[in-house]
C-alpha cells in the first residue's frame, strides 16, 4: 500500500503544480479545441473542403463563409478545420517516430556505453551536422514529396535530440542504487532498461515531445509551403498558404486564416509545453 501512495502523491503534486500555471492551462484548452476541431471536422465544417463554387470566388468573410473563400470559391473556414487534421497528424506522427527511435537508441547508448555508445553518438553527431530543415528536404528529395514522407523526414530529423537527452538521463539513472541492485540481483539487461531505467527518462521525453509537436507543425507547414510536403488541393495549412499567395493582392483573408491556425496550434503547444517542463523538472527551466 505504501508503495502505491508515493508515485500517486507525486502525480497529484505534479498536476497541482501544472494547474497553477495559467499559461499552460490556456495552451492546453486551445490545443484541445483544435484537436476537437480535427476529430469532428466532418461534422463542424459547413462545406466540403474541396467543394468549389463559381459564384463565390474570392469573396470576403461573410455570414455564409466565415473566413471568406479562395480563388476556386472554396470555403476557407471549412478548409482550415480539415487542415487541423493534417497538421496535427503530422505533428503527432513525426514526434512519435522521433521519440520512439530516439528513446530506444538513447537508452541503448547510455546503458551499454563504450562501443555502442560511441557508434550511436557518432551517428547523431553526423545527423546534427545538417541544418534541420535541410535534412528534412534531403530526405524528401530521396523519398519524393508527399504528406507521409514529410512525417518521416521531420521525424528522422528530430531523432538525435531525443537520443542525446535520453542517453544523458540513462547515464545518471544507471548510477541509482536500486538500478544497480536490480542488476546485481541478476535481472536481464532488457528488464533493467525497461522496468527501472526507462521510468527515469520519461519526464524529459514528455517535455521534448510536447515542444516537438510545435516544432514539427512549423517545419512541416513550411515544407508544404515550398511544395515539398502536402500537395494541392490538400487542405493542409502550409499548402493553403502556398496556393493563396498568388492572390495576396485580391484578399487578405486567403493568406491570413491558415496562418493564424498554424500559429494558434504552435503557440498553444508551446505554452503547454513550457508549463509542463517547469512542473515536471524545474532544472530544465533555463534551457
Amino acid at each position: 500500500m505504501r508503495q502505491m501512495t508515493a508515485p500517486l502523491s507525486r502525480l497529484t503534486s505534479f498536476f497541482r503544480e501544472l494547474g497553477k500555471r495559467r499559461g499552460a492551462m490556456v495552451g492546453l484548452a486551445v490545443f484541445l479545441m483544435l484537436v476537437a476541431m480535427a476529430v469532428l471536422a466532418p461534422r463542424v465544417a459547413p462545406y466540403s473542403p474541396n467543394a468549389q463554387s463559381m459564384e463565390r470566388i474570392l469573396s470576403a468573410p461573410n455570414r455564409d463563409n466565415l473566413f471568406g473563400t479562395d480563388q476556386y470559391g472554396r470555403d476557407i473556414f471549412s478548409r482550415v478545420i480539415w487542415g487541423a487534421r493534417l497538421s496535427l497528424r503530422v505533428g503527432f506522427v513525426s514526434v512519435a517516430i522521433a521519440a520512439c527511435v530516439g528513446t530506444l537508441v538513447g537508452l541503448l547508448a547510455g546503458y551499454y556505453g563504450s562501443r555502442v555508445d560511441a557508434v550511436i553518438m557518432a551517428l547523431t553527431d553526423i545527423l546534427l551536422a545538417f541544418p534541420s530543415i535541410l535534412l528534412a528536404m534531403a530526405i524528401v528529395a530521396v523519398l519524393g514529396p508527399s504528406l507521409v514522407n514529410l512525417m518521416i523526414a521531420v521525424g528522422i530529423g528530430a531523432i538525435p535530440t531525443y537520443a542525446r537527452v535520453v542517453r544523458a538521463s540513462t547515464l545518471s539513472a544507471k548510477e541509482l542504487q536500486y538500478v544497480e541492485a536490480a542488476r546485481a540481483m541478476g535481472c536481464s539487461n532488457a528488464r533493467v532498461m525497461i522496468r527501472h531505467v526507462l521510468p527515469n527518462v520519461v519526464a524529459p521525453v514528455i517535455v521534448l515531445s510536447t515542444l516537438g509537436v510545435a516544432g514539427a507543425i512549423l517545419t512541416a507547414s513550411g515544407l508544404s509551403f515550398i511544395g515539398l510536403g502536402a500537395q494541392p488541393p490538400t487542405p493542409e495549412w502550409g499548402a493553403m498558404l502556398a496556393e493563396g499567395r498568388t492572390y495576396i493582392q485580391d484578399g487578405w483573408w486567403i493568406t491570413t486564416f491558415p496562418g493564424v491556425a498554424i500559429m494558434l496550434a504552435v503557440l498553444s503547444v508551446n505554452m503547454f509545453g513550457d508549463g509542463l517542463r517547469d512542473a515536471l523538472d524545474p532544472r530544465l527551466r533555463t534551457r
Binding site: 557518432a122 553527431d125 545538417f130 513550411g222 509551403f225 498558404l241 495576396i248 498554424i262 508551446n270
Partner: protein, 307 residues
C-alpha cells in the same frame, strides 16, 4: 586548450567524412535507377544507358565511386547538374551571395533585437515589461516565418506600398526578408539572454559587487551582462544553421534568388547532383561555423578547456 582544440578538430573531420558518406549514399537510397531518373522522359536504348552509366562512373564499385566523389568534392568539383549541365559548384557560387546576404542580415537583426529584448526582460525580471517581452518572444517562436513574410508583404507592399513586393537587389528588397528570417531566432536569443542574466545575478561575484556598494546598474553592466552574453555565442552559431535553412523558405516567400530556391527546384526536378551539392555545401558551412563558435567560446570561457 590545445588538447581540447585537437579533439574538437578531430571530431569535425570525422563528422565531415560522415556527412559526405550520407550525402553520397543519397543516390543509392532513391528508389529506381538513377540513370533512368537522369535521362528522364527521353526514350533511350539499352546501349546508351550503359554508356551514360560508364561516363558517370556508375559501373564501378560503390567504394570506388565514393572515393572519387570525395576526392572531387575536396577539390571543389561537385559534378554537373543533370538538368542545366552546369557545374554544381558554379551554380552554388552564383547563388551564394544572395543567400549569404539574407542570412547575415537576418542574423544581425536577430542578435541586436534578441539581446536587447532579453536584457530588458532580465533586468526588469518579473515586472510587466518582462512578462510582455517574454510573451512577444513566445509569439515569435510560434509564428511560422513564411506566414510572417506574407503578412509583411500584405501590409508594407500591398497596402502601404513602401517596399517592392518581391525580388532581389537593393536594401529595400532586403529589409522585409531579413526581418522575417530573423524574428524567430531573435525570440530564441531573447529567452536565452534573459535566463542567462537571471542565472548570473544569483552568483557570488554579483553579491560581492553589491556588497561593495556598487550601484545596481554598475553591477549589471560591468559584471553580470558581460558573463551573461557568453552563452549567446553558442546560440548564434546554432541559429546560423537554422537561419541558413530558414532562408530556403524565405527565398520562396519573397521570390528572391538564392541557394534555397535552386534547392527546391532541384528537388522537384529530381536533379540529384545539384541536391547533393547544396546539401553537402550547407552542412560543411554549418559544421565549420560551429567549429569557429566553439573555439571562440572556449577562449571566452576558460573553464571549458578543463574538459
Amino acid at each position: 586548450m590545445g588538447a581540447y582544440l585537437a579533439r574538437r578538430l578531430l571530431r569535425t573531420v570525422f563528422v565531415l567524412v560522415g556527412v559526405s558518406v550520407l550525402v553520397f549514399s543519397m543516390t543509392y537510397l532513391v528508389p529506381g535507377d538513377p540513370v533512368l531518373a537522369m535521362l528522364g522522359e527521353q526514350v533511350t536504348s539499352g546501349e546508351s544507358i550503359e554508356n551514360v552509366r560508364r561516363d558517370l562512373g556508375l559501373d564501378r564499385s560503390p567504394l570506388e565511386q565514393y572515393v572519387r566523389f570525395l576526392g572531387d568534392a575536396v577539390q571543389g568539383d561537385l559534378g554537373r547538374s543533370w538538368r542545366s549541365k552546369q557545374p554544381v559548384t558554379e551554380i552554388i557560387m552564383e547563388q551564394l551571395p544572395a543567400t549569404l546576404q539574407l542570412t547575415m542580415a537576418g542574423l544581425g537583426f536577430a542578435v541586436v533585437f534578441g539581446v536587447t529584448i532579453g536584457m530588458i526582460a532580465g533586468v526588469h525580471r518579473n515586472s510587466w515589461v518582462d512578462q510582455l517581452s517574454m510573451f512577444i518572444a513566445l509569439i515569435g517562436v510560434s509564428m511560422p516565418a513564411f506566414w510572417l513574410g506574407l503578412l509583411l508583404i500584405l501590409v508594407f507592399s500591398v497596402h502601404l506600398g513602401w517596399v517592392p513586393i518581391v525580388g532581389y537587389g537593393g536594401l529595400n528588397r532586403l529589409i522585409l526578408p531579413a526581418l522575417t528570417l530573423g524574428l524567430q531566432a531573435s525570440a530564441i536569443i531573447a529567452r536565452i539572454v534573459r535566463a542567462s542574466i537571471l542565472e548570473e545575478l544569483r552568483r557570488d561575484y554579483v553579491t560581492t559587487a553589491r556588497a561593495k556598494g556598487l550601484s545596481e546598474s554598475r553591477v549589471l553592466t560591468f559584471h553580470a551582462l558581460r558573463n551573461a552574453l557568453i552563452p549567446v555565442v553558442t546560440v548564434v552559431g546554432l541559429q546560423f544553421g537554422s537561419l541558413l535553412g530558414g532562408a530556403v523558405v524565405i527565398e520562396t516567400v519573397f521570390a528572391r534568388q538564392g541557394i534555397g530556391r535552386v534547392a527546391v527546384t532541384a528537388i522537384t526536378g529530381r536533379d540529384f547532383p545539384l541536391i547533393q551539392g547544396i546539401v553537402l555545401f550547407a552542412a560543411v558551412v554549418y559544421v565549420l561555423v560551429n567549429l569557429g563558435v566553439d573555439i571562440i567560446y572556449a577562449r571566452l570561457n576558460p573553464q571549458i578547456s578543463v574538459y
